[in-house]
């Protein structure tokens, strides 16, 4: 509870979920631009349903994928998530099962993809994919490293997004967190004089609760 309470109160001053979604969007945009790729997307792992959910996409043609879900247990993204290992694959059109499955789910079949697990502390939060970078003679380990860096950045953004969602859930609930958060929000709206008085009152309350 204390984590949620902390997150909920923090949500009064932290940006809303939309901002983190925007950050994820910016990350896939930059990833797509850096790798001169056709698309890029971020999957968020949904523990409840054991699925990967499209949380951000970079190109207009991928827009319809937002919110779509795929099972976390199969496929390349599933493997990357479970193995926590990055993977770069070209000539995917040679894999009939992949092409069929992906076409059925998304209507967009990439020829190649780079996928990196989004790892934050001990957890695997999702997968970042970069689709159809231009075919070149050789892939380089430098590109792999760059992909890893994007993965690290995206993982932090995804962790913030998850915290924001937890905070939102706590606020929407009817526990102590929501009361404290409502008081915090109301405090922000008071004029200066009343805010000073309210803060003095809260400090007294704090002393009362001190062990």
């Amino acid at each position: 509870m204390s984590d949620d309470l902390h997150a909920a109160v923090a949500a009064g001053v932290l940006p809303a979920e939309e901002c983190f979604a925007e950050l994820l969007g910016a990350i896939v945009e930059v990833a797509r631009a850096i790798f001169h790729a056709r698309g890029s997307s971020i999957f968020l792992y949904d523990e409840q349903t054991d699925e990967l959910v499209f949380a951000a996409v970079a190109s207009a043609e991928e827009r319809s994928l937002l919110g779509r879900r795929i099972p976390a247990s199969t496929g390349i993204a599933g493997w990357v998530l479970a193995s926590r290992t990055p993977l770069v694959i070209d000539d995917l059109e040679n894999d009939p099962r992949f092409a069929r499955d992906v076409a059925e789910r998304t209507g967009y079949v990439p020829e190649g993809l780079m996928a990196v697990p989004l790892l934050h502390e001990e957890r695997a939060l999702g997968v970042l994919q970069v689709l159809d970078r231009p075919s070149r003679s050789r892939f380089s380990l430098e590109e792999m490293e760059l992909l890893g860096l994007f993965g690290t950045q995206a993982a932090v953004a995804l962790d913030l997004l998850a915290s924001a969602r937890r905070a939102r859930a706590a606020l929407d609930g009817d526990g102590a967190a929501s009361v404290v958060a409502r008081v915090a929000a109301a405090l922000e709206r008071l004029d200066e004089e009343r805010r000073d008085a309210a803060q003095a009152l809260l400090r007294d309350l704090e002393r009362l609760f001190a062990p």
């Binding site: 247990s73 290992t85 070209d90 894999d95």
Partner: protein, 281 residues
């Protein structure tokens, strides 16, 4: 007390905690390395025959032209009570990755016996537990080489994984694991009892380098590798995932020619025959 100085001959004997003078003559090594270890001695002419290589991964597509026969396949999952279960694998490969690893091994060690332990594909939740159970099962089967092109970041699993890796090491099962190429702590590749592998960019499976600056110990081909994939297909792939089976296969070659080598000796042989050590560049 009878000193059992040659414990690997008989598992029932007590381990050799000490070595009385009278027992010294009994520890003559049955497979001493030659004065000069080179590739000719290490694996020239070897095919992997007699060596069992186990791929702990997403399963293997049996009968794939680049893989051929799979000698045995099991799938590990977690049942409703949270217990791990090992059953014969009827599904094959659910991703393509395990088939890719098996193909890399088959290309270099054509007569090695390839086995599959599928630890992926039954949902993400519990992956760490399944991975652990799969590796433990594989070690119990006495495979000669176990290839693990995956890892876990769960610290809670690291101690148990380390114990399994040490058990493998002492019972002469060589555990080859792909190193992580992101700045995260993951296991089991970081353990000193396993052989950890990262990628180099050259297009030659016989080029491999010893790393003077571990924890990654060897670099093998892992960039733009033509690998076997689902439906009998072939794709081009990059990742340390494909470097590890290169070293697994080379290990299988060495062990098919010199079956009594310990994992310690095998690592030494790989070191001495690495492209930046004993072998011509």
């Amino acid at each position: 007390m009878t000193a059992s100085v040659h414990a690997h001959d008989d598992d029932d004997e007590r381990p050799a905690w000490s070595l009385p003078s009278a027992a010294v003559r009994r520890i003559a090594l049955d497979n001493p390395l030659p004065e000069r270890v080179d590739r000719e001695w290490a694996f020239a002419g070897a095919t992997g025959r007699g060596v069992k290589v186990c791929v702990v991964d997403s399963g293997i597509e049996a009968g794939h032209p680049a893989v051929g026969a799979v000698a045995g396949a099991v799938a590990v999952s977690v049942d409703a009570d949270g217990n791990t279960v090992v059953v014969p694998d009827e599904e094959g490969d659910l991703c393509g990755h395990g088939t890719a690893c098996a193909g890399v091994i088959r290309a270099l060690a054509p007569e090695a016996e390839i086995h599959s332990v599928r630890v992926l594909g039954s949902g993400f939740t519990g992956t760490g537990k399944v991975l652990l159970a799969g590796l433990r099962w594989a070690v119990e089967q006495d495979y000669t080489v176990i290839n693990m092109s995956l890892s876990t970041t769960k610290r809670a699993f690291s101690e148990v994984l380390r114990e399994i890796a040490d058990t493998a090491y002492f019972k002469r099962t060589v555990l080859v694991a792909s190193a992580h190429n992101m700045p995260v702590e993951s296991f089991p590749w970081r353990f000193s009892s396993v052989i950890s592998v990262g990628s180099h960019e050259e297009d030659d499976p016989m080029t491999f380098y010893a790393n003077p600056d571990p924890p990654v110990e060897f670099f093998a081909r892992g960039v733009d590798v033509k690998v076997a994939w689902l439906g009998g297909s072939t794709i081009t792939a990059t990742g340390n995932s494909f470097a590890a089976p290169c070293i697994s296969a080379l290990g299988a070659l060495v062990l098919s020619k010199h079956p009594r080598l310990t994992p310690f000796q095998l690592k030494s042989v790989l070191y001495l025959t690495a492209s930046n050590v004993g072998a011509p560049a």
